[in-house]
Symmetry: C2
């Protein structure tokens, strides 16, 4: 249990906490600023003023509506930091500031919000990035669901870094940074109330330092993506369609935890469709693959990195999986809503 | 009526539209990109890559949960553009990119979303700023309320511009850019189903060009704020407390529309507590007030600008209103929830 917030005597969020008056200021000062304290928030202006960056700017926004708010390996607060840092990292950007917009439901326990904001603050400190601005809105009971967080990241792309799907070429090697499906299975098993022998823990983690190492060692890297919603299948399908190429994965090369495989079988899921929050997929020229793997494996978040596939001329727009027995199957993306509110 | 979206045969948002698969891509391509088309969105990367700015960066985030979604003078889409541009403008920043995170409720009519995104796009074009990135999440029916939008703005602060509450000094003149209370009354009257003889229309508008004119003419401006939630009363109280000064307003100098006064009387509101979305309050040294007023009145959004008060040594932390008969009353900020979901 964390210390109860000193913000206000009320124990739950009320509409007044979002009305722009004294109660809102109490909530912001007593809870948000207490955890996320920094010079920008203390200044209390409508905009945070940041230094002029050395390079181009990267900007990204992601809404977090995960259900449940707390899951094995994280919560919506840490996820909202990691997910947005990772979107910056995929552009090769060093995160330099985050902002967070909270939409709170009337009736939310302040103690729960306190834990979430504390977790967000801890994740930001661990990643070396500040939450420089934010906003709080309150909606009536039954018009929201506890907490939604929309996090925006602003980053700086070092001169010389050029990553993008348009650089992916036939012959490229597809490298994944570790096991797939951990986050989604951790959330789904908590949601379904299923306990496995070995608890599956979300892989939620900030990838910017891993990416910095990769770029240092292999500046000619073509593209990076983090396979979140829709899993590796959605990410690779998007790329196959966008580039008009085929992508072939090898089942025996794809790292998947036994527990994730078992849970997926039970839940009727394919690990390739399940969200990840601390994994990336990299596309690089074949002659750089060894150096890239070495750089990745030297970092804790890339320890299980593996070459999982290759980019081919065709069939264009198609992702295929080579199974162990010489067979092939098409890896489609999900059309339906098998995994709502996974992030 | 706008053209129905070509996104998908479905007429309403379904959970599948947020699941990261094919349906989400259809929604993004067929609706969001159709309206908000630009090079960054077309690129479809996790982060938008922007040029290196010439000055310092300003960043701001605001969530929009306004109820109803459409109101006289605007809708949640245009509001989400104006409100965020204005927060940048208050730092003296030229807006250079916006991002928008949508949280959609299952069951939302696609035609309604289409109108809102079209309105957002039109507001962005009119203001000369691009929505360079976004995100879409879907929550189950009864866990949201149609559409919530969280908009982040990134701006560029020209060298030499230094605005901030810490520069406000005793003797400063308080200038408002026009009538107060229009936005809140427009929304509340729509919500209460009240029709007035003269319809009150929201003042929702982007203030960055007005601010650019003001800074050009009066580079020594001390501070700018946009009195949104909580109205002018909340903004001035925050400043009075932060700077330990007293602020005196003169009732006869404060521009308020007759219709707003009448509606406030009927609704039991004080126009000073009512939100504005296209107004600003400026603090400047007394010898610059005339030049500032002239610059403001030359711009359509500052036509009704007026000196509404002054900053005094005390009583510290207090905002007072001088009434027409030589009386004074304290202008407190709202503690309660008189005006929920006004922006």
């Amino acid at each position: 249990m964390s210390t109860p917030p000193r913000a206000t005597p009320a124990e739950r969020i009320e509409l007044a906490h979002g009305a722009g008056g004294r109660r809102m200021t109490e909530l912001i000062d007593g809870l948000f600023k207490r955890h996320l304290s920094n010079a920008w928030l203390e200044r209390g202006e409508d905009s945070a003023v940041l230094a002029r960056p050395d390079g181009r700017i990267a900007a990204t926004t992601d809404g977090y509506v995960i259900d449940p708010l707390v899951f094995p390996g994280g919560d919506i607060g840490s996820l909202a930091v990691h997910g947005t840092i990772n979107d910056l990292a995929m552009a090769g950007a060093r995160p330099f500031a985050l902002t967070a917009g909270f939409i709170l439901e009337e009736g939310l326990a302040l103690a729960e919000l306190d834990r979430i904001v504390a977790s967000m603050a801890a994740a930001a400190v661990a990643a070396g990035v500040a939450v420089v601005g934010g906003d709080t809105k309150v909606v009536e009971r039954g018009k929201g669901d506890g907490v939604f967080i929309t996090t925006t990241g602003v980053g700086e792309i070092p001169p010389g870094v050029e990553l993008g799907v348009e650089r992916i070429a036939v012959g490229d090697v597809v490298v994944v940074s570790g096991t797939v499906g951990d986050h989604g299975v951790a959330v789904m098993s908590r949601r379904a109330g299923i306990a496995f022998e070995t608890e599956i823990v979300s892989d939620s983690a900030p990838l910017h330092e891993l990416v910095a190492r990769m770029l240092q060692r292999v500046p000619g890297l073509h593209a990076l993506r983090d396979p979140t919603r829709g899993g590796l299948a959605a990410t690779l399908n998007e790329i196959a369609v966008a580039r008009g190429v085929g992508i072939t994965l090898r089942a025996d090369r794809l790292p998947v935890r036994d527990g994730v495989n078992a849970a997926c079988e039970l839940l009727g899921l394919d690990p390739l469709h399940v969200a990840n929050e601390g994994k990336l997929v990299a596309f690089c020229p074949p002659d750089a693959a060894e150096a890239l793997l070495a750089a990745m494996r030297a970092h804790p978040l890339g320890r299980d990195a593996a070459v999982a596939g290759t980019v081919a001329a065709g069939p264009p727009g198609l992702v295929e999986l080579e199974t162990g027995f010489g067979g092939r199957r098409v890896v489609d993306w999900l059309a339906g809503d098998q995994l709502p509110r996974i992030c």
